[in-house]
Amino acid sequence: MSPVPVPAAVLRAATRQARISLVRKYTSAAGITTVAVSLVLLVVLWLLRDIDLGSAAVGLGGYVVTGFLAFGVVSAAVIGVAGELQTERDDGTLLRAKAVPHGMTGHLVAKVLQAPVDALIPVLPAVLGAALFLPGTTPRDVGGWLLLLLVLLLGVVAMLPWGAVLGSVFRSMLGLVWAMIALYAYAAVSGLFYPVAGWPVWLQWIAQAGPLYWIGAAVRAVALPDSAAAVEIGGEFRLGVALAVLAGWAVVGLLLAPVLLRRVVRRQSGSTVQAARERVLATGF
């Protein structure tokens, strides 16, 4: 019997792990609910379609479509990864990965493969619906769609370490709820759902300091018509700058995420999993 090369075996196992996790998730009631929420949002977008944003030649609905898309990515990469990390630490998934050869590498590869799909599936119905019923809110050609996909992938990778940090810092679901509230607040000041150009300059700088603003800006630049740039900072889409900033954050993410995940895993042992089990039994979370 000839042994399988390590990278091939790890990639094969990780791909299968990601595929099974996604199938199990999106054939469960929780997964289907996530997708259903996207359909509800589509109705909201439809109702908002005629509310305009002053000088911009796009309705509020269009702005919200892009904001929803960007926030879906952020949410999947940050809250999704943090929540999964917390669950996996408690139920022994991470320890299981640690106990098998190259298991942690495979687990990390699976997460990287899973995260973009996990980010896109919940927003897909809304995006497809917007493409059909809300003209001018989605890319107009194949190149635009591919660019949008690139922006979303960069966004996921850029935000992954944020999820890893939150997942390693907060050791209970209650902590994650607070983290979610903080993320929503951050999203609110990052101009994902409403233009920040009219806000005080200092607040605009705060918004631009993190990757969230740039994810939203890049998605809007790709998806909305040129006339929508009027409500952007400086009155123009800065797609090049946005892609460069996101690429920078993505590099930081790819360097930091494995380090952070390994740090979380290093502390894992049978007794920590047992302690987590007892905590859940005692407190319910």
């Binding site: 399988v4 075996a9 792990q17 640690k98 050869p101 049978g270």
Partner: protein
């Protein structure tokens, strides 16, 4: 080994030959978990040297991991997966370490049949019973055909049939020259499956020997139960020389004793006695375990 200023393990000197089945016993807080986690490579010892299968566990390469199997009692992972999927995905990581002598991973259908889960291959993990879940954990621990297997209370939650299956499986693995270190609170189980018992108390190994040697050591101490004829008071006394003790009592209390019962101490009696002496403040705690092997 210490956590801060708290010494958890002290002066542990242990060598386990290949193919031996060792049961690690001890009360809660004795240091069993820490010992096992150090050996598994999940915990870095603060002092001392640990070598498992020729490597230092905490820094061992991935190839070392492929030779070690771990079964914990607290795993609840991959709850929505199918049994078959979990075995196959975990097993895939062992494929690079397959050799003609040790083909890895274990064939899924064969492995699941071996642990008694042939009927559950397509079932979701969270729909397994407690006993079935234990069997699955054992199967995952075995999927890489480990040379060394750590079993953490492998039969907890199993019915008698399930326990017997796991005991038979351990015996089969021992026949295949697999070294097994299991922790358990069940002395009967330890006696049944293990070649060697290690009793840990207060961070020290306080007894180390075969079940027969331990029993023999225990049989040196018999338990004498007396019931007073008038008061009905029952007195229990453990003594290495029950005959002399009885002679002394009957001479001193002729006509007062109604019932005399002498029995050899059970393994449980011995275990409790060893642990009690080790944990009692002021009592001498032997750092060197009793040489029970010499008694066999």
């Amino acid at each position: 080994m210490s956590y801060g200023d708290h010494l958890v393990l002290d002066d542990i000197d242990l060598e386990v030959p290949r193919g031996q089945v060792v049961a690690l016993l001890g009360p809660n807080g004795a240091g069993k978990t820490t010992t096992v986690e150090v050996l598994e490579g999940f915990r870095q010892p603060s002092a001392g040297q640990v070598t498992v299968l020729g490597e230092t566990p905490a820094t061992a390469p991935e190839a070392w991991r492929a030779r070690v199997g771990i079964v914990l009692q607290s795993w609840r992972d991959h709850a929505t997966w199918r049994v078959r999927d979990l075995i196959e995905v975990v097993g895939a990581y062992y494929a690079p370490y397959s050799t003609s002598q040790t083909p890895r991973p274990w064939d899924t259908a064969e492995l699941l049949a071996r642990v008694g889960l042939a009927e559950q291959t397509g079932q979701r993990v969270d729909r397994l019973s407690g006993g079935q879940r234990r069997r699955l954990d054992v199967a995952v621990g075995l999927v890489g055909r480990p040379e060394l297997l750590f079993l953490d209370e492998p039969t907890t939650g199993l019915d008698p049939a399930g326990r017997r299956d796991i005991h038979d499986l351990v015996a089969d693995l021992a026949d295949l020259d697999t070294t097994i270190l299991l922790t358990t609170h069940d002395l009967t189980e330890a006696e049944k499956v293990a070649d060697r018992l290690l009793i840990l108390a207060g961070g020290h190994i306080v007894a180390d020997g075969t079940p027969d040697a331990l029993r023999l050591a225990l049989s040196r101490s018999s338990e004498v139960t007396l019931r007073d004829l008038e008061t009905g008071e029952v007195t229990v006394h453990a003594d290495p020389d029950p005959t002399a003790y009885l002679r002394q009592v009957l001479t001193a209390r002729a006509g007062e004793v109604e019932v005399v019962e002498v029995r050899a101490a059970s393994l449980e009696d011995v275990y409790l006695d060893i642990v009690r002496r080790a944990e009692s403040p002021g009592d001498h705690v032997p750092h060197d375990p009793p040489a029970l092997e010499a008694l066999t």
